[in-house]
């Protein structure tokens, strides 16, 4: 009887865990990336939905490197963001739903990367406080203006330090608690971690040794919105 119960419980756990982490291949999830094979990505100025006004400029400094390491040609952000500003595009939100072909005409970019800072703050609750950095990222084609890839990266750090579950958050908590107490905390470290949560799901680009060889790599499926 006991054994039977245990089996049922195990099965139940497996089922639930399975539901929460549906694994799919990169090719199944993002077929258009493999069809279009973009080589270059223009990083758009981040769309800032957070309450931190300076998050936009700060977060922007963390994006180029991981995209380059993923094998893409990334346009020099400091230069391109300056040009976009001169052209009147300071808010990427304004161009998000517009035809993106002009970015191909001007920069020669095969695709653009939109990032949205969903959260970039510390919330102080009665019994706990959390630091959250949450980023929505999306690659859109400059040929069709269609979405080729989309993913979210979120990092939540428990600042109270009594995180029983441990893990990365638990390990980091002590360090961060002190950092937060200083007047202006540097969130870019956590932004990099948030980037790390989504970057691996991007099919790799032409400068990566696995270019067009990573179709079968499994990734966690994003909940459909």
């Amino acid at each position: 009887m006991n054994k039977f119960k245990l089996t049922i419980v195990s099965l139940l756990i497996l089922t639930i865990a399975g539901c929460a982490n549906t694994m799919v291949t990169k090719e199944q999830e993002f077929p258009d990336m493999y069809n279009e094979k973009p080589r270059s990505l223009l990083i758009m100025p981040p769309i800032n939905m957070s309450t931190a006004a300076d998050a936009k400029d700060y977060y922007a400094t963390t994006v180029e490197m991981p995209i380059a390491f993923q094998g893409y040609y990334t346009f020099p952000y400091e230069l391109t963001s300056e040009i976009l500003k001169q052209e009147g595009i300071y808010d990427s939100e304004l161009v998000y739903d517009m035809p993106l072909s002009k970015f191909h005409e001007y920069f020669g970019a095969d695709a653009v990367l939109f990032t949205k800072i969903v959260k970039w703050d510390t919330s102080y609750l009665v019994i706990a406080s959390n630091l959250t950095v949450s980023i929505d990222a999306e690659i859109k084609s400059t040929k069709t203006s269609k979405s080729l890839w989309k993913y979210n990266g979120t990092v939540v750090i428990d600042l109270t330090g009594n995180n029983g579950s441990g893990g990365m958050a638990g390990l980091l908590a002590g360090v961060i608690a002190t950092a937060i107490n200083t007047a202006a905390a540097d969130y870019t470290e956590y932004a990099r971690e948030a980037n790390g949560r989504f970057i691996g799901t991007v099919p790799v680009g032409p400068y990566h040794p696995l270019y067009l060889k990573d179709q079968k790599i499994k990734i966690q499926q994003q909940p459909k919105q």
Partner: protein
């Protein structure tokens, strides 16, 4: 015991394998100095960023790896802002030479520099 040794051997092989593999790029202090410049725009932070860009080129050449995308172009832009047009153009040309994806954009910049009075 034998298994233990085997595990250790495998682990050693695995880690040394990783260590000897060449990295794709050497970004030196790129994002740190970029962040510092965004945080406080001054001649000093900009110089530090420029130094980093130059260090990246030297280190990449030393290790015989490709200079990361945009580094030459960013340096060209700094020289352009300092009114050194010929240096700016030569960096834009270097960006083109290692990344064909940049040719269109770099040519546009070079033309703009050349046609400006």
């Amino acid at each position: 015991m034998q298994i233990k040794i085997l595990v250790i051997v495998c682990a050693t092989l695995f880690f040394t394998g990783c260590a000897t593999k060449k990295p794709m790029y050497d970004y030196d202090e790129y994002s740190e100095t970029f962040y510092a410049m965004k945080r406080e725009t001054s001649a000093e932070t900009q110089t530090e960023w420029q130094n980093t860009l130059e260090t990246i080129i030297v280190k990449s050449e030393d290790r015989n790896i490709r200079v990361p995308p945009g580094v030459y172009a960013n340096l060209g832009y700094l020289h352009l802002k300092a009114n050194d047009e010929s240096k700016a153009i030569s960096y834009f040309e270097l960006e083109k030479s290692i990344y064909p994806e940049a040719i269109h954009f770099m040519d546009r910049l070079i033309n703009r520099v050349k046609t400006q009075p």
